[in-house]
Amino acid sequence: MTAVEPTVILSKPKRPPRLRLELRPFVPFGVATAVVTGIVILWHVASSSGWVSPVFLPTPERVVQSFFALMVRGYVGSTLFEHAETSLWRVLSALFFATLFAVPAGLIVATSPVGRGMLDPVIEFLRPLPPLAYLPLVIIWFGIGEPAKVLVIALSMIAPIAISTATGVRSATDSQINAARAFGASRLQVLRHVLLPTALPSILTGIRIALGAGWTTLVAAELVAAARGLGYMMQSAAQFLVTDIVIVGILVIAALSFAFEAILRIIERVFVPWSGHR
């Protein structure tokens, strides 16, 4: 009987787990849903009971109504879709030009001391600058047309992409580079076959950060002499205290950024499945 004793001690009765294991992954999602629902209910109560003036906080129902009205009739000359399309186009062209400049710039900074001396000051100068600081100068130089807006957004995207690219390139190990050199690879082949693939996951991360900066800058760029765009729509609405349209604008931008994030995550999974592995 004494031989059994240790077993008895070891198998001290455990409290049954409060949640079954299969439900665990859904807990954050459940909590998030509850929080969002709670906020909407609170919003509804606050605005419909008259705690807050509807001028400052229209009811959720009113916002949904405006959303549909915006889709059909539009505001300040364009439908919601047209505003969103214009803004999307600006952000995407800015991303295109920023990537075209920043990825090679990052590669050069990470691989050539001379190139680093040339480009690092530019990147480090742009990095901490708020876009609103250089917006007036860009307007003086390039006017108020489409190129100026795209340029301002692109400028805000260059630093994150270039810095992420350079960091990614530097994560290639000496032995990986030496291995390629021992196979007779030229400098250009090392770049193409080792450095660029190594940097790819970082480049995508840089693009994700840049898109965040891009949406921020978009609204600022569209404050100045735009005739269409989500930022312009919100700014016009704000001037006449049409708060429901401002809120619709915020929600649409949030939804678009979220969609971009999701698309980039899919791109990451498909094109850089090695991300995070060594």
Binding site: T173, Q176, N178, R181, A182, G184, P197, L200, W274, H277
Partner: protein
């Protein structure tokens, strides 16, 4: 027959000012069919020696030559296997092995055929499509060895290739390495911490003393040849001659060099 020769090679960081002398007048040569193992404590310049032989570093004094011609910079006739395997994680096993062939401009179907044959020769037949990060440490090193052999190098330079493996995998990999080297008829240079590994694999062992790295002992060995001739590995490793040689080498590594019975 090819011959990789280091002639009174010295190497220092800080260039001509020679702030830190890493290697002091080291001479050695590796011919086809030879397997030279370099032993020494940490800081004896073993890895620098390999980097010089591979052309990754340039000697401060002395020359590195292949078949009598000065070798400057790396070239495809010297392949390198690294301790951290240095595989390209964005390529699958087959494409890793095929990369040297791709850089040589060999067409895709031929690359694929040769890469698969090389993978089979290191015991990875059918693993070509696997992602690198799904392979074990031993399998990764096999891919690294297959990749090094892909360019059909004259010399195989290895920097602690089995250093990160567990003891059991390590012994099996040593046997594989011997067979692969024997079939490929290359000249091999192995940097290692392990005296037993050097004894089992090498035809010649060189011991470096630290600070600055210099050769304190050279000796010929034949255990690998006997393994290839069919003697069982365990019997060789437990033989009195093997153990005696091991103790002698250990004494030399720790600076108690005496006359060596080779």
């Amino acid at each position: 027959m090819s011959d990789l020769r280091l002639d009174t090679v010295s190497f220092a960081y800080g260039g001509k000012s020679r702030e830190t002398l890493i290697l002091d007048r080291v001479s050695l040569s590796i011919a086809s069919g030879q397997f030279v193992a370099v032993l020494g404590q940490s800081g004896s310049g073993k890895t620098s020696l390999l980097n010089l032989a591979a052309g990754f570093e340039t000697p401060t004094a002395g020359t590195v030559s292949i078949d009598g011609r000065i070798a400057s910079g790396p070239s495809a006739d010297r392949a390198v296997v690294f301790q951290d395997d240095a595989l390209f994680v964005w390529l699958n096993a087959r494409d890793n092995v095929a990369l040297p062939l791709q850089l040589k401009g060999i067409a895709a179907p031929e690359r694929r055929r040769r890469a698969d044959a090389l993978l089979a020769s290191v015991g990875l037949a059918g693993d070509g499509d696997k992602s690198i990060w799904t392979l074990s440490g031993g399998m990764r090193q096999r891919v690294g060895i297959a990749r090094a052999l892909a360019a059909e190098p004259k010399f195989l330079l290895m920097d602690e290739p089995l250093g990160a493996l567990d003891a059991m995998t390590r012994e099996r990999m040593q046997e594989l390495l011997l067979q692969v080297w024997h079939t490929s008829r290359t000249g091999a240079l192995l940097i290692t911490h392990s005296v037993e590994e050097a004894l089992f694999l090498a035809t010649e062992i060189i011991v470096l003393a630290p600070q600055p790295g210099r050769i304190v002992l050279r000796t010929g060995v034949a255990f690998g040849a006997r393994f290839l001739a069919g003697e069982p590995a365990r019997r060789l490793r437990s033989e009195p001659g093997f153990i005696l040689a091991r103790e002698t080498l250990l004494a030399a590594i720790h600076g108690e060099a005496t006359a060596v019975a080779a």
